[in-house]
Subunit: 267 residues, 2 copies
DNA sequence: GATCCGCTTTCCGTCTAATGGAAAGTTTCG
DNA sequence: CGAAACTTTCCATTAGACGGAAAGCGGATC
């Protein structure tokens, strides 16, 4: 025989097949290894982040790629086209984002500033929709980003007009998070004062609280059932926002959005 | 003993456990059962559409809900929040959509019409981004929707300036698809004539070809490497678009987008 | 140009986790 | 109030998932 070892026989297979994880959870963990800071990953990075063996990661990602949940880009993996399309069907975006967009346009028309729509999610606010023109400077936040309640105009607006039990959540977060910049509110008393002022004035502002050179105004979006879980705002870089002319514009838009929200039910 | 049947003993379990499907493929099939026409589904509808037994569908969807890929909305299931956020990381949207948005704003400012960005996907065009103001009438297309190459301004613009091998794909589709309205182009000769004209003029139009009361103009977006896989356009309802003043605006925006596309590599 | 290192991909013996029919529980409807 | 349709739970069976090992693949480094 020419060939002494046609194929090496492997006797041990997988001594510790698995702890207690389901296939689906692993596949989802792979998807979950992507985030805005890691939009493209190699196989071994995915495996590391998802904490599953490479061999398993390899098999599963192939399936995800086959379906279109992931795509290969050179040697790396990226989120697939099909997943994006699927995400468009999510009620948050369909019910609020799409509805609000035209009103946000109006604000952009008039103010020429970056316009943001934030919604409340758990213990923070989430940037749901963002508009910017070619003249409004580079937007520094991305749709899908999150900010704490106490360090954003959007968050404070919701805090002032939203459900009262948000208050403790916000305080806990503030204590846990520490300051993002030297201007970040960091004492309960200060936050209380600030929020009271927001409630009185009807709008919230930030001055470099979540980032230097980062100014913003936001007004609450109060839906037709009286609840407030969203806010509309504009942000500028370098110089403070011109509150006077902008607040009325935001108010009108926010009322327009609020009127139409939650007539169609929950999101 | 007081209890004769503490628990009925089941002897048969699952005679035909499975054909040849993987767990992952089933889970993905469940996700795939959602589309723009079916954004919310009951368990049994999901199971039916995905062609898997309800019991299995039930188990898997629970896991999907647990992770956040799906959410429950009353008795039904909808696409989850987390999936939407994940979708935002898809290169299509991040690399082209975000880049194009500010230019599209400019067009909206000037023309006050619904502005659409389509990209080429397989044998059709896909609506990647859409802007509309409060004054531009109800937009009738949704982001994520698809149109055939031969029955849309966007498609014809890409057909005229894009890769030559698109031509046969378009013809095949046209033959297969049939007319969407009485105005839809349906003969190869007619399409050829139309596309030649688009190439000469530099822009494409449609008049009720994809839907009645549905008029549009589109110009190609030619990226800095000379290829064309996207187009920018406006649409109106009821009356034809005013070509004269709009085309130059679209051209400028499309050039701006094209210049910046594909410097960062593929999407 | 040989050696090493880290990565992707393939292989396959073992065995756990997935399976789905059936039954029970729940809501809807006439 | 019974029938129909749907959701949820159960569990005996086994098909599919598992992952260590080894092979293959660049691209650094000496």
């Amino acid at each position: 025989m020419a060939n002494a070892h046609p194929r090496k026989k492997r006797e041990s297979a997988s001594p510790s097949p698995t702890p207690g994880a389901t296939v689906t959870s692993r596949a989802l963990a792979l998807l979950g290894s992507f985030d805005s800071a890691h939009p493209r990953l190699s196989l071994s990075e995915m495996a590391r982040r998802a904490e599953i063996p490479v061999a398993t990661a390899h098999r599963l990602s192939s399936e995800l790629v086959f379906w279109g949940a992931l795509e290969r880009s050179g040697q790396d993996y990226v989120v697939g086209h099909r997943l994006w399309k699927l995400g468009l069907l999510a009620p948050v975006r369909k019910n609020i984002g799409e509805l609000a967009a035209p009103y946000m346009q109006d604000v952009l028309f008039v103010t020429q500033n970056v316009v943001n729509l934030f919604i409340l999610e758990d213990d923070h606010v989430l940037l749901l929709e963002r508009l910017s023109g070619t003249r409004s400077g580079a937007p520094f936040r991305r749709v899908g980003e999150q900010l704490p309640l106490h360090a954003s105009a959007a968050g404070k607006a919701i805090l002032a007009f939203g459900a009262p039990d948000l208050w403790e959540t916000a305080l806990e977060n503030m204590a846990r998070a520490g300051q993002m910049t030297e201007h970040t509110i960091s004492s309960p008393a200060q936050l209380r004062r600030e929020v009271a002022m927001v409630r009185e004035r009807g709008y919230a502002t930030t001055s470099q609280e979540a980032g230097l050179d980062n100014f913003g105004i936001a007004v609450p979006i109060i839906s037709s059932d009286g609840t407030c879980t969203a806010s509309l705002g504009v942000v500028t870089q370098n110089q403070p926002v011109a509150v006077g002319p902008i607040v009325p514009v935001l108010r009108i838009a926010a009322r327009g959005i609020g009127r139409r929200i939650s007539l169609g039910g929950e999101y």
